[in-house]
Symmetry: D2
């Protein structure tokens, strides 16, 4: 927005005298601080599940879930190596729990989502209730709730973790506490929270105490059934195909205050128009296959592959067969702060 001021020896000498007083001239950096458009360090990125899975299984041989506390391979955005983040504000990783293992109880102010990739029937326990995990399920661990994971099945269990770790770190608001037992006690029947809050009804005197959804498992069979019904309307958004956002039924808002997850169906052969928005988005392919052009990069995806669309970077998806994509971003943060923008006529990607 602003060309830097002419440098002169006198000015430079002045700047040198400012620094010891913890002062600096705004006009030297204004254009870099307040940019005409987002200038993100986050870049388009792609992880082929077929490549990652062997390394995840190797991790399974090298360290136990107990020793690791959480046995996760972080998906690091190549634009920010060593920063443990997949976008500027969000973290993602692939977590593995082997049969018989436990990821011990703890709690933290960071909110987490789990999107189930592989395996069937391991559990996440939150505040005394277990939920069984099946491929395509979207599961929440609300901020500051006790949670542990366990796998009492015969198969390895793999899911994608999405957390707001960079954001909470940036806000200097991280708190954490280990449990005093490896696993919490089960105090509620399986399925209780979905029945209590997610079937169009709620307890007569219940009021939400936090902004996080009281439903903590959104099973894939329900989400998929919704897509299946809605595709009959044959009413496709040119930028998105059929795109839904997961909802906190107590407010109509996002299931977590920091992360909005989405589920999207593209009919066979559908090609979206170029689109961009300020919320960098992490995608996981669930069904089908296709190609996404993100800025200058192009990725061909199949089920379980993960890719990232940075802030304000144009994206275009093209489905091969009918395809389903799960995705998530920090959109509710940007919307709460009045900062979110989208551009439905993004210049061609």
């Amino acid at each position: 927005m602003h060309a830097a001021a002419t440098s002169t020896p006198e000015r430079q000498a002045f700047y040198d005298r400012l620094a010891p007083n913890n002062l600096a001239p705004l006009w030297e950096v204004l254009g870099a601080l307040i940019t005409r458009e987002p200038q993100s360090p986050c870049i388009p990125a792609f992880w082929r599940y077929g490549d990652v899975r062997p390394q995840l299984m190797e991790a399974g041989r090298l360290i136990t879930a107990r020793e690791a506390e959480r046995r996760v391979l972080i998906l690091e955005n190549p634009g920010m190596p060593g920063k443990s983040c997949i976008t500027h504000t969000l973290y993602a990783g692939l977590q593995l729990i082997l049969p018989g293992e436990v990821a011990p109880a703890h709690r933290h102010s960071q909110s987490a989502l789990r999107f189930v990739i592989e395996g069937n029937g391991a559990f996440t326990a939150v505040d005394g209730e277990r939920t069984l995990m099946r491929p395509g399920d979207f599961i929440i661990t609300p901020s500051w709730t006790w949670h542990d994971h366990g796998n009492e099945t015969e198969e390895p269990m793999v899911w994608l973790d999405g957390l707001d770790i960079p954001l909470v770190g940036f806000l200097d608001a991280s708190f954490a506490e280990p449990g005093n037992a490896e696993q919490q006690m089960e105090t509620k029947p399986v399925g209780d929270s979905l029945a209590r809050y997610g079937m169009g009804l709620m307890p007569v005197d219940w009021k939400p105490a936090t902004p996080t959804s009281p439903v903590f498992n959104y099973p894939y069979d329900r989400s998929r059934e919704a897509l299946e019904t809605l595709k009959r309307a044959d009413d496709w958004d040119p930028c998105h195909g059929l795109k839904l956002r997961y909802v906190n039924p107590a407010t109509g808002g996002s299931p977590m205050p920091t992360i909005q997850p989405f589920m999207q169906l593209l009919p066979a052969g559908f090609r979206t128009e170029s689109y961009r928005s300020t919320d960098a988005t992490i995608y996981v392919a669930v069904e089908g296959s296709g190609t996404s052009r993100i800025g200058d990069a192009s990725f061909h995806w199949q089920p379980h592959d993960v890719f990232v669309v940075p802030s304000w970077c144009p994206v275009r998806h093209e489905a091969g067969p009918e395809s389903v994509l799960f995705s998530f971003s920090d959109r509710p943060v940007q919307q709460a702060l009045g900062l979110w923008r989208e551009d439905r006529q993004a210049r061609a990607a």
Copy 2:
């Protein structure tokens, strides 16, 4: 709250001079206007379905749905005869549509609920979408939406209508319009709105434009499944057993701004403690049987029976076998206005 002032001839003469100027002395009526506790004209009342049904079927022989526009027997509170209301603020009636009949399209500012009593598969169409009606379904007709009903099955169809007619009349806000065709065109697939808004997801760019739920059928099989799951928690409210309120998933509030419906399960032999609240409530028995003591009255109910608990009148329910009750009241109005009260230790009824 206030004993009327002493009457004197001089005062009376003064009052007589006030009236022609549209003036009146407050102190003569203050105690009647601002009462220590609610003094409702609404009284406890009961309709045995076995008694009403023959009269409803007789109505079916005497007038067509087309001629009647809506063939409904109003349930009139005996405390307010001729007022077409079941409580002070709400209207209820039993509507019959015979095979092959149509209740023609119209719209009005009044909100309506339908609770299905008998029959299977007749439809209500709202804004281009049909929903099939099955016993126990709770269905909404939002304010000012085009709606018509039709019965293409072989059986009579009966449901309970609940509307805010007295309230909208009191607010002088009634608007209505007949359709220009008997039936509206079907523009959306059956089940569309439930899939679009009621499965834990919503269209990515959708925002609610009205306070009414975008889901307009809450099927009984879902509600009943929720009750079935939750009863495993074995955590009973002494005043209510297991009581849920229907929810607008876009806000967490009531499905309609003027009426809150509820669904409640009482385990076999459960006896609630005495309870009262300021929202007069209409009950419909759905399953089981039991007895409700309401003020000084006592009613034994079976499926399809309807009864009324007036404002601030203590009520106690006792279930025979496991029982399910549907109910509705104007609670969201009272809560929006800061007027709702409840008393969980009501003096014994």
Copy 3:
């Protein structure tokens, strides 16, 4: 909306058999219940202060404030004689407190506004804080707060009371309690609530516990100064001139959940276009003079005169000199319930 069905002897006999069972045929009354447009019993009405004042002073000689509890002449809408209401949902009256008198402490679920007509410096006390009353001040008594009034000046004090008595009665939600002392103790300095909540700041940890404004006096000098500044913008609404609504600074909503007050300036000679809305409105002239045409009636007003515009009745104001009008209605109720409508091109009044 619906022509009544043809009457036949057989039908009539059927209707007669319904009544004892508390049943009635909807089709006989549908058109009267669900009207195409509001059909209010409320009619245009007018009270000339010059006529009412002598009767109010006579009341001051015939009964004490203490005996009357509140010495008020109710302004009764001539369309609803004996109902103690000025519109279908609201009550209004003129209250007089003579020098040295007290209107004793009580509380009730009804919300009250006071709009000061005459006198200078009597007080209303609410929850331990006194506010001094000056002409044009708009003062709130929130639901269920202890309040008393006193006049320690040398002059009679007159104000207009506006309450939601009919509405609270219709909702069967009236509660009231007399104080155990005639006057409450003064526990806060005069002006505390306005300074605490009304100057663009609020206590750091305070959260509103009720929907009513924490500011309970909106002094006329502030309101008038706002009008005086804004008229410089010379930007007049054709239907309203310059019309402001009083605001609860904790929410941006109405100061009370059931009543919205307004303040309005019409420049000299301004003639508004015909307008109507569903919230019947009570006006008080504050400054200037003019004529309002309401439906077929026409009233010429001067300061302190009161008049009523019924629901959906077209109104047109014409100012003589620059004029100020205070008004209030049940608009927040209608808006909360999704029922409020306005018509800015009302057919000529």
Copy 4:
């Protein structure tokens, strides 16, 4: 929270093979990412105005406001040198405009506050309305509004700028645009927005379109008058004395979605108890003098001095004479996201 796993050559070799695939082992960094308590790079810091002012005036000689676009000395937190931030999420600087100068029109998605230090009567123009700046005034430049500053007085004008630049940068949501003229046209009278939205009333049909306050100048004389009235209540918060937050009168929330400003009075000799919260806070002394102990640092402040309390760092203030402090933080961000915490019994600082 978690001790790093034992390192072995085999594991290290594995980690080395992960990096090229943009993968990393969570267990090596978990304890650093999810900390038991906030671990901020922000440290306590202090700027004596008497020291900064000469350098600011020197800047006034070395560069014009026009060339600089904004002639500001950034206050850089010494814990994050070169990052142009005063806390982790916020930016602050001291801006100088000399008589006759103009800071040209531009707009950006970043929100700004101005807190006036020195000078009297220069203006900030926002969306066609000028507001005159006086010491102690708190002024808003809402996100994406055109704004320019000018000084038509005879004195230098200095104010503190507070912006959400680091936060908007972290969210990758920066947009900016230069004006096509140096100064925008004045289209509204001075004082219009305060009169229109800040006097307890609002335009009858106005609805907020953004989360930012429609009032953009909160003059010091009003804020100071509120403090003066409220101190008569003699009701002091042990941690804060008398602390108020500035409010958006359209919502009751913060004046800007990303920044909450506060105004606080400490009576002479008052010593607050130790307190901490997760929102790092920037203070400006307005009146009086005192000492603040922040973690292990201790600063003695006088009017115009600036100091920073980092996240979760205990602070204790001690006033000499009666003192007034202005402060601001990112609290509304943390509260919107459910992350804000405070500790009123912070371990002794």
